[in-house]
């Protein structure tokens, strides 16, 4: 046994492919990368948590570097970080609803289920999973949980970690771990569900997930105040953020690429989204307009949903990209800086930014953005905890914890 951390026994893609075929059968090999003895990683899709666990155990024994992946639309997708894996493992064949009881407002699905497909099923029941991760409707539920990134609805409805009830993980020890459950409150044992959420494949392959659901809002409206620079928009956004309204989303968008025409010609806008009953939405909109004046445009119902989805999808396309969280009141300085950078870059060159005016989460920052607050360094104690936790699920270090994030 040779872990990738030690002297690594390199196995050829053909050999890996053969071993996977004999373990799980031809159907587990994904055609796209398995033809013609390509040099790239072998791609495999187990059909059950048990198959996934067996595959990860084999990879662990052989020391193959494994990268679990979803739809490949999240900003941290394969290719972003140097070291290539030997084996890509996907939950693609574990797709579809496992259990859905509309009366319970809970749902369990295979991790390979695509969010947009799920949304159609939920819409038929008047229900909703209010998550808009980078990549929008194209993400898989497993990928969404694995990345754990909060999107535009996180302040109102919670980030993935807050809406997640349970998940099934296949780890590199070859264990199938059903964690959490299907009930909305559950504190039986330590919270490994939250540990796995946002672990970016470092602890295993997520095979199934369960979520709490919400009633689909009767009314959905987005107000956009357009502008040509972030500073004045931030002042406006700050007023809106201070209103005691349960808004679905409140963000400042800067896009120079013209991907979101709703923002107007200058590509900057504050977008306020209100969801709920018709009278409640009308009231929220009235209060907002009283406070800061009429918006440049109002998007109703489907148009409101489409804008949010387009913004999320666009966020997934920008890569590499960065994110920072700062006190919302400090956003102005950073946004001014980004406006200047954008002007210097001369329009189209500049990617854009999305800042949540209530949580202070700034997303979609391009790699050369300047003036970002420094990242919190990983202290030795935190490093030790990471290394220890990795070994619980991946003692040989075949998953990305060690070879991508350096948790030794």
């Amino acid at each position: 046994m040779a872990g990738p951390g030690s002297a690594r026994a390199v196995t050829s893609p053909d050999e890996i492919r053969e071993r996977v075929r004999s373990l799980l059968g031809e159907a587990a090999l994904d055609g796209s990368t398995s033809d013609g003895g390509a040099m790239g990683p072998v791609a495999a899709s187990p059909v059950s948590p048990q198959e996934a666990a067996a595959l990860l155990r084999l990879a662990s024994e052989e020391g193959w570097r494994v990268l679990p992946h979803g739809a490949g639309v999240a900003p941290d997708g394969y290719g972003a970080a140097g070291t290539p894996p030997d084996l890509l493992v996907s939950a693609r064949r574990m797709a579809g609803i496992i259990q859905y009881e509309p009366a319970d407002l809970t749902l369990e699905v295979g991790a390979g289920t695509v969010l947009a497909d799920l949304d159609r099923e939920l819409a038929a029941q008047g229900q909703w999973l209010p998550l808009l991760p980078p990549g929008g409707g194209a993400v898989t539920l497993g990928g969404l949980v694995s990345m754990g990134l909060p999107g535009s609805l996180a302040v109102a409805y919670g980030a993935p970690r807050d809406q997640l009830l349970g998940l099934t993980l296949a780890d590199a020890r070859g264990r199938v771990l059903p964690l959490g459950g299907r009930v909305v409150k559950n504190v039986a044992g330590f919270d490994l569900v939250r540990l796995v959420c946002g672990s970016r494949g470092a602890l295993g392959l997520i095979c199934g997930v369960s979520f709490r659901l919400h009633p689909r809002p009767a009314a959905d409206r987005t107000l956009i105040w357009s502008g040509d620079e972030a500073g004045s928009l931030h002042a406006l956004g700050r007023v809106l953020a201070g209103l005691p309204l349960p808004l679905a989303a409140l963000e400042i968008h800067g896009h120079r690429g013209g991907e979101l025409p709703q923002l107007g010609p200058d590509g900057w806008g504050v977008a306020l989204r209100a969801t709920g009953s018709e009278p409640a939405v009308t009231r929220m909109v009235d209060v907002a307009v009283d406070a800061v004046g009429r918006p440049t445009r109002t998007l109703e119902a489907d148009a409101s949903v489409r804008f949010a989805l387009a913004a999320a999808a666009d966020e997934g396309r920008a890569r590499p990209q960065h994110r920072r969280k700062l006190p919302p009141s400090d956003l102005g300085v950073l946004l001014d800086r980004l406006t200047r950078d954008g002007q210097e870059a001369g329009g189209k060159e500049w990617g854009g930014v999305v800042a949540d005016l209530r949580s202070g989460m700034v997303r979609r920052l391009r790699a050369d953005a300047t003036g970002l607050p420094p990242l919190t360094p990983v202290t030795p104690a935190v490093g030790r905890l990471h290394a220890g936790l990795r070994k619980v699920f991946d003692p040989m270090g075949v998953l990305p914890g060690q070879w991508r994030y350096g948790w030794r």
Binding site: P75, A103, D104, L105, G148, L149, G158, R161, D162, D171, R175, L177, P178, G181, R182, V183, V184, K185, N186, V187, A188, G189, F190, D191, L192, R194, L195, G198, S199, R200, H214, P215, P244, L245, P246, G276, S277, E278, A280, R283, V287, H322, R323, R324, P327, P328, S329, L375, T376, P377, V378, T379, A381, V382, L385, H386, L389, V392, R404, Y405
Partner: protein, 479 residues
């Protein structure tokens, strides 16, 4: 059932006194009496000492001393926990956070508060109210329980149906790890490659370390609140009303039910709420949010209740009227103290649609074991609190309580539920955890515990069965 206290070695006692001052170390058995027990009253475990640090630095110096001496210790907030999580097994030293009770910073614009762990839950909401803000998680013990304890238990409350539990509101956590190291826990971040250690820590029941400082998110107070109390002639009818309300796409802030046994206990007590004693079920429904539309939602819920057979629906829109409607529900636990010396509160959660059949089976289990069972529960999220009333001096009754307890948990698990929704496993539900978690998950949890606490000194003997705990829960080692 009090095991003899284990005296603390003199040198350790002196080191603790030198760190926090003589007055902040209790070792006299009489003064430690209150620390023998928590909200789970049938157990008593005398600690070998109680230490009350006054600063975060004192906490890590105390933990370092205990860690180096190889002694077990347990963090304790207000001691209101209902699963025995703060009990000092094996003569553990209690590290009480009650002196760390300052609100360090209130950032109104960013809706954040930085607090010490000993701040009382309701105290934070009181302090933020003048700014139009409040702290959402509201466990029923909120007038006494500490925010550090809420982190340990990942506490819920009646309003978590709409607003979610503690972990959603904790935005930063500084803790002392079991070896005495002070660390600010990261959340998941692709920029630094970190994991959500903060999320893992919340709900770890004091087994991964001690919180010394935290930051929480505050919410703006909703513009309007409407509450109704519906009285039913059967528990099933109340359950059906809950299902219909949810089915209509309404999302109340709270949906709470009390059964007849609970109503009788409340009405017999000083907390009498004016509910007729022959009412089989009382349902509290609360809506909050922007004013507009609340009346319509309320009217719809009222119609649902009447349509489901409610004999009476009372409504409230003023704070005073609202308090009156909530009174019975909030004082239910207190009222039960009057009718039986002891009370075992169960905390199972089941899928909401299974509530009626589960309640019927719980009733049957109670009758079969000749026990009084009073149900109070968060109907909206399927979180049941069957209260088994008993007298611990009656060994036969105690044995029946334990049998019934296990059967109730079985019924809930069979219905697709779990053994604890918000009270935690602690000591009380530890034997039942294998009913709901398979061995590989218990093994992984034990391994995770060992990453934080390899020697098993930090809150020994809790959550996991001994065979999965580092140091075997220290049960035999130091008993």
């Amino acid at each position: 059932m009090s095991p003899a206290p284990v005296p603390l070695p003199d040198d350790v006692l002196r080191a603790l006194q030198a760190t926090v001052g003589n007055r902040a170390v209790l070792s006299d058995p009489d003064r430690m009496l209150v620390y023998e027990s928590d909200g789970l009253t049938q157990y008593r475990f005398p600690p070998s000492a109680v230490v009350l640090p006054g600063t975060a630095e004192e906490v890590y110096r105390v933990v370092r001393i205990l860690h180096q001496a190889g002694l077990p210790y347990v963090a304790r907030g207000a001691g209101t926990g209902l699963s025995g999580g703060a009990l000092a097994l094996n003569g553990a030293v209690v590290v009480a956070t009650t002196r760390l009770n300052r609100i360090l910073d209130l950032d109104v614009e960013n809706r954040r508060a930085r607090v010490q762990p000993g701040v009382i839950n309701a105290q934070l909401t009181r302090a933020t109210a003048p700014h139009g803000l409040y702290y959402a998680p509201d466990p029923s013990s909120q007038s006494a329980c500490t925010l550090g304890g809420n982190v340990a238990e990942n506490s819920g409350g009646p309003h978590c149906l709409k607003y979610g539990v503690t972990s959603r509101y904790v935005t930063a956590l500084t803790v002392v790890l079991p070896d005495g190291e002070l660390v600010r826990l990261p959340t998941s971040d692709p920029e630094t490659g970190t994991l959500d250690l903060m999320g893992l820590f919340v709900g770890s029941e004091g087994c991964f370390g001690i919180v010394v400082e935290m930051e929480v998110e505050l919410l703006p107070k909703p513009e309007g609140v409407r509450t109704l109390l519906a009285l039913f002639d059967s528990l099933e009818a109340a359950g059906a009303a809950v299902s219909t309300i949810i089915g209509r796409g309404l999302l109340p802030a709270a949906l709470e039910i009390m059964d007849r046994a609970t109503i009788e206990a409340v009405e017999d007590s000083v907390f009498a709420a004016g509910i007729p004693r022959d009412t089989e079920a009382a349902l509290v429904v609360e809506f909050d949010g922007v004013e507009a539309g609340l009346d319509a939602e309320m009217e719809e819920a009222r119609g649902v209740c009447l349509g489901s057979g409610a004999r009476e629906v009372r409504t409230a829109s003023t704070a005073a009227d609202r308090d009156a409607l909530w009174k019975g529900r909030k004082k239910a636990f207190g009222a039960m103290g009057r009718i039986a010396p002891d009370l075992l509160v169960q905390d199972a959660t089941v899928p909401r649609s299974r509530l009626p059949e589960v309640l019927a089976r719980i009733g049957e289990i109670g009758r079969r074991h000749r026990l009084r069972v009073a149900n109070v529960f968060h109907a909206g999220d399927g979180n049941l609190h069957p209260n088994l009333l008993f007298d611990r001096n009656d060994p036969d009754e105690l044995a029946r309580v334990e049998k019934a307890s296990r059967e109730i948990m079985s019924v809930c698990i069979d219905a697709g539920g779990t053994i604890t929704g918000e009270h935690g496993v602690g000591l009380d539900k530890r034997p039942y955890l294998p009913m709901v978690l398979p061995p590989p998950v218990l093994e992984a949890m034990g391994q995770v515990k060992a990453v934080f606490d390899p020697t098993g000194q930090c809150n020994p003997g809790k959550v996991l069965p001994d065979e999965y705990l580092p140091g075997g829960g220290l049960t035999r080692a130091s008993a």
